[in-house]
Point group: C2
Chain length 180, copies 2
C-alpha cells in the first residue's frame, strides 16, 4: 500500500462504496460494514451514521479514531458476513481471514486486503441524528491490486458492482479543486 | 410515474447515485446536482451537504422542502451541466429541457425525465457542518423506463455507471426490515 495525497482521499468515498470501518477499543480490533456514509467537503471530512446498536460505536466514541477500509467486489461475501455478526462475540479479523496492519495515527488497524484505507479522527458526534463526523488524516491505496471495482449496497440485500467509467473532467474544470 | 411505498425509498439512495435536488422559492423552480448524500435509517431520512454557496439553499431553508430526483446515465450531461451553472442567472428546467411536475406535498417539482423522485421535507439543518436532514414523504418511480442505470460521481470529474447486480438477500434476511 502506498500513501495517497489527502486532497484525493474524498474521491475514494464520494461514489458511495460500501466500506468497512475498523476500531480498536484499547484491547481488541473490530470491524463493521457501513454503507450510510457521506462526503462533506473537498477536504477529507466524512459523515457516517451509526450508534449504540453497533458494538463498534463504544470504541469510536472512546478512542476518537477509526479506519475506513474500502473493499472490492472479490471481498463482497466477507463484507456481508462482517455486517451480519457482532464484535461482542466474534473476532472478525480471524473469522474472515483479514490482516490488520497498524497505521500511523490512530489505534484502529488498516485492512491489508482492501483497495484503500483512510485513517480518521472522530471530530464530532451529532447525537440527535446518530451522525459521526470523521476527518481523514492519512490515506493509503494498493495500486498494484488488479480488482479495483467497488460495490454499492442497495439496502435490500442486493449490491451494484462498479461498471464503466465516464470522463467529464473537461466540463467540470471550474468545480474541481486543484490537486484532485 | 407510479407511487412507491415509502419503506423502499431509502433503497433509491443507499447505493450513492448522483442526484438532482429541486427547490421552489415561492416564484421559481431551481435544480442543483448533489452527490454528497447519505441514507440515515431504514426509514426515508436522508442527509445532504449544502450551504449558502448554493443558490438553492435559500429556498430549502425558506420553504423547508425539496425533491430528490434520481437521474440515469442517459442524463449525465444534463447532470453535469446543472452542477456547473447557477440558478441565480439560469432557468435550469428550460436550459436543460427538463419537465417540472407538481408533487403532492412540497412546492418543489418532480423531474419527469428522472427514474425516481422523492418529495422531502427539511426536518433539520445542522449549521456547523452544512448538513440538511430530509424526510421523504412521497416517492415515485418510472417503472416503464428502459434505462435504469444510475451514475456515481467520483469527485474528480469522472463518473462510474452501475454495473451488474449481485444478490445476497438470503444472507442478509436478519438485517433487512420487513417491507423492503
Amino acid at each position: 500500500m502506498r500513501q495517497l495525497t489527502m486532497s484525493k482521499a474524498f474521491t475514494l468515498m464520494e461514489s458511495g462504496p460500501v466500506v468497512l470501518v475498523t476500531t480498536h477499543d484499547g484491547q481488541k480490533d473490530n470491524i463493521m460494514t457501513v454503507s450510510w456514509t457521506m462526503v462533506m467537503d473537498f477536504t477529507p471530512v466524512f459523515a457516517i451514521t451509526t450508534g449504540e446498536w453497533n458494538h463498534s460505536f463504544a470504541a469510536l466514541r472512546k478512542n476518537k479514531g477509526c479506519v475506513i477500509a474500502i473493499p472490492t467486489v472479490d471481498l463482497l461475501d466477507k463484507v456481508v458476513g462482517i455486517g451480519t455478526c457482532s464484535g461482542t462475540d466474534t473476532d472478525k479479523f480471524a473469522k474472515f481471514k483479514l490482516t490488520p496492519v497498524r497505521g500511523k495515527v490512530v489505534a484502529a488497524p488498516l485492512i491489508k486486503e482492501c483497495l484503500a484505507n483512510i485513517e480518521c479522527k472522530v471530530i464530532d458526534i451529532i447525537k440527535r441524528h446518530n451522525i459521526v463526523v470523521l476527518e481523514g488524516v492519512a490515506a493509503y491505496i494498493d495500486a498494484a491490486r488488479r480488482e479495483k471495482r467497488t460495490v454499492h449496497a442497495v439496502g435490500d440485500g442486493t449490491f451494484i458492482v462498479d461498471g464503466r467509467k465516464l470522463d467529464r473532467r473537461k466540463l467540470m474544470t471550474a468545480k474541481i479543486p486543484c490537486g484532485v
